[in-house]
Symmetry: C4
Subunit: 208 residues, 4 copies
Amino acid sequence: MPFFGRFSRGELRLHRIEAFSDGVFAIVVTLLVLELAVPLLKDHDSASELAHQLRELLPKFLSWLISFIIVCKFWLNHHHILGLARHANYAMVWLNSIFLMSQSFVPFPTAMMGEFPTNPLAVSFFGVVMAINTLLFIALHLYIMRRLLKPELEGGQDPHIVAKSMVGPLSYLLGAAVAWVSSHAAFVIYMLKPLFFIVPPKWHGIRE
Amino acid sequence: MPFFGRFSRGELRLHRIEAFSDGVFAIVVTLLVLELAVPLLKDHDSASELAHQLRELLPKFLSWLISFIIVCKFWLNHHHILGLARHANYAMVWLNSIFLMSQSFVPFPTAMMGEFPTNPLAVSFFGVVMAINTLLFIALHLYIMRRLLKPELEGGQDPHIVAKSMVGPLSYLLGAAVAWVSSHAAFVIYMLKPLFFIVPPKWHGIRE
Amino acid sequence: MPFFGRFSRGELRLHRIEAFSDGVFAIVVTLLVLELAVPLLKDHDSASELAHQLRELLPKFLSWLISFIIVCKFWLNHHHILGLARHANYAMVWLNSIFLMSQSFVPFPTAMMGEFPTNPLAVSFFGVVMAINTLLFIALHLYIMRRLLKPELEGGQDPHIVAKSMVGPLSYLLGAAVAWVSSHAAFVIYMLKPLFFIVPPKWHGIRE
Amino acid sequence: MPFFGRFSRGELRLHRIEAFSDGVFAIVVTLLVLELAVPLLKDHDSASELAHQLRELLPKFLSWLISFIIVCKFWLNHHHILGLARHANYAMVWLNSIFLMSQSFVPFPTAMMGEFPTNPLAVSFFGVVMAINTLLFIALHLYIMRRLLKPELEGGQDPHIVAKSMVGPLSYLLGAAVAWVSSHAAFVIYMLKPLFFIVPPKWHGIRE
């Protein structure tokens, strides 16, 4: 396979991949706040009108909070799996880029869920996007483990890690399904999900 | 406590935590300017109409200025406390992420205070958000000092540092309270506050 | 030529040029999503109305996808060519800055093509901008190869690389021309183009 | 002077100051494009209507171009002067932060000049902001030369560098004054100004 073979060539510098990825993660989490538009007030000086308007923004605050925690968790796990690689190659760069594309998309479903918190499609769409993000992350993880693992880590990886990782997309898909019955329940699932595996399940104390 | 114990595991690379944090700080301070919308003019060529509109933007300029200085000060102190840590672990990463979440929220209260500078809730809300930011920062600082301090710095830290740090949130809460009486006075407190402790109180001349 | 001579002076630190460039690339790809505005709904809870509105957004999703892949490819190739340079000088910094200027412009033609996907000028404009981006990238590549190439890489570079690179701008210009006949065909060309040379044609396994 | 004395204490890590600064520079240049809003069209498919609208955007393109080049030049010179410092201290961090504040403000006058290119105040304001930016940059430069210069560079710096640097703010102020007579002439001055000293006048070939 000469075409696919080219993708495993090349030894790219991990530090620029990390810099680019860290940039994307940092911008995504910070852009999320732009969805929180300052409310319009009839009486600019009325504290009670503003308090009322801020209560109306509650679903947007919640969407912002959920997405922020999820993206931070992806960042932490990304940090973890890049630490497993001995170097980078083209296949990894493209898997990473496609994963980052799905990360950079996050502000859109977040804004939509915040705008229409009782619309089943809006709430469900958020879960589907997060499931896809997790699947793309798993693909990157798998590739690094199979092709780029540091020799000193061989054998130390949990062979069931991928099966266990599938809990992630399945939870998001569960939330996406539940959204058609109760959007409140879906919000609860999206909030609870990141609390599992908040710490990567196996860490080998590598410091570089 | 096997659950909480996991958080103190792991030795993460400080440089990626710094890169991610620096990204968030840089984006927050730069996004602040987006709240300064170009005014609408009836006569596009009228300098006097534009001058009048720019005077109307004064509270927005002031909010922008205050937030910029505050976020820069957080960045400087963040730089300081990360220099105290020998490495990172999960608990620190999550404390850092939650602190960064509160930092990335800053553009919202800044915009609201700039839009409604005489609304007591808007001005007060700003102070409360900054108090929470400071408390989250203190939590991160404390954790690093207690669990991750470089061995060579042991004993050299001011034992009263946390008590002294509480001046920060208390000043912001004072401003938040004063806002209900006079928003002008609250602006003055928010402007003066960062001038205290503009230099971290104890610095050990560590260069890495 | 004392004026032009000054540009080849100076040995600048490559790591700050990479940091600045990585920042611009990361922000460009992440800003692209801001064009995906949350649709307005008459009935906030209607899944079918939202589904209809999301289908209307399809050209915007497509434009976003195309630009994301193109910018990632530029980032990857940029990573490659900066790895060929032994250091930086002023001429290189300015060629790099002008290239980054054209990269930072990408969100505008992307938004315009997404907004008016059947307007021949909008679709054509996108191709012209991408052709200019590619030409500016080739200029930077050429300059590095002729003036700043690492001594150990001399002779190992493909002498036909620039002629081959011209396939890039020509493909985009082809798309720009085709847009006046069929915007669908132009979209297809823009989508297929980055799939060629997705891996830089010659890579020497340099790891730094 | 115990208060001011504290500012010259501390040895901060230059790499985080560079990372934060590079982040701000990169975001400023990339945010500039957000001012280029996609025009509204009555007939979405009309190339001639879009062509007309794009011609109307010409002053915005020009403002964007001018600011992009100016900010890149500041970045390059910033890169140069930080290379002169042996380490950082608090005074330098604050001078740097205030300079970055004025840099992050640039999108506002840029947008205003693009929106009202024939309004003398709008065009003049741009020049004044750039003059202030240059003065703050000179202050940072002076401080580094006087207090933080690397020992090996002592004596090698041009003693007239600051007098020469004053050409910068004076040119911008000239443009700001000319704007009241002819905004076209002011645009020309703003465009020509960065072409002087496009290369820092003295460079010692330091590579780190």
